[in-house]
Symmetry: C2
Subunit: 147 residues, 2 copies
């Protein structure tokens, strides 16, 4: 049992364009062609495609995915390099997740400010201070450009 590119696109929710693009980028070295030159995806290929999606969805760059898939093609001997690649990626993703969480905290702070019953007053004070700072420095007041 093999699958056409259309069937794989439906299964993976990747577009046919994207699948062909990935192939062109060397991300699908495991996919064979039939007599007509058509890509024939096996179930094993779908598993590798799933791995590819996980790497892509965690933000791995195409060049790194290509490297990983190349290592996969080389069999068990490449396990150490695969480990290193995945571990490096994993660490980068976790660091990025932490950075995003930190930055999102600040967004949350803004949101709780806006949720305050005196939000209007606080924001009004902030605005007044900003305008004052501008004029104190002999600068035009950008907040009145809206008039």
């Amino acid at each position: 049992m093999t699958y056409t590119i259309k069937q794989v696109a439906e299964k993976t929710h990747l577009s046919i364009y994207t699948l062909r693009f990935y192939d062109k980028q060397g991300l699908l070295p495991f996919v064979s062609r039939d007599q007509s030159g058509y890509r024939a995806f096996t179930d094993g290929d779908l598993l590798l495609l799933h791995t590819l999606s996980c790497l892509k969805n965690t933000g791995m760059k195409i060049s790194d995915i290509r490297q990983y898939m190349t290592l996969v093609m080389q069999g068990p001997a490449s396990i150490p390099q695969r480990q290193q690649l995945l571990r490096t990626h994993r660490d980068a993703v976790l660091a990025q997740q932490r950075a995003i969480a930190r930055n999102l905290q600040e967004v949350d702070r803004k949101l709780s400010l806006y949720d305050s019953p005196i939000a209007t007053d606080l924001v009004g004070l902030e605005l007044a201070a900003a305008r004052k700072e501008k004029t104190a420095n002999g600068l035009p007041d950008p907040f009145s450009k809206l008039i």
Copy 2:
């Protein structure tokens, strides 16, 4: 006290290019110009720039940041719209974080497979099965292209 674009670049770790690009994109409507047409950043501007960085670092698109900054320029009256924008963004970021965590779990599964003492055997079996699947379907074996 105001800051030049160079000083702001140093403080924020954004490049001068990026700051000018952001300004061109309408992300810095609050920054005034001095008599020479030079950007003059105030301390209040730096706070807004910090907010901008948080939004950018959590992946908000430039068009949405522009919208937020435009709302900020309008003063307290725009608080409801700001809330909606930030909440939508916050929810999207959290959903994205969860999606990444899910995908990273699969990467971790791969890593623990590679960590297994019988990793070589398991990977070897997988490879053998994949090759068998290809030939069973009358397809060329892509794993021998390396010879």
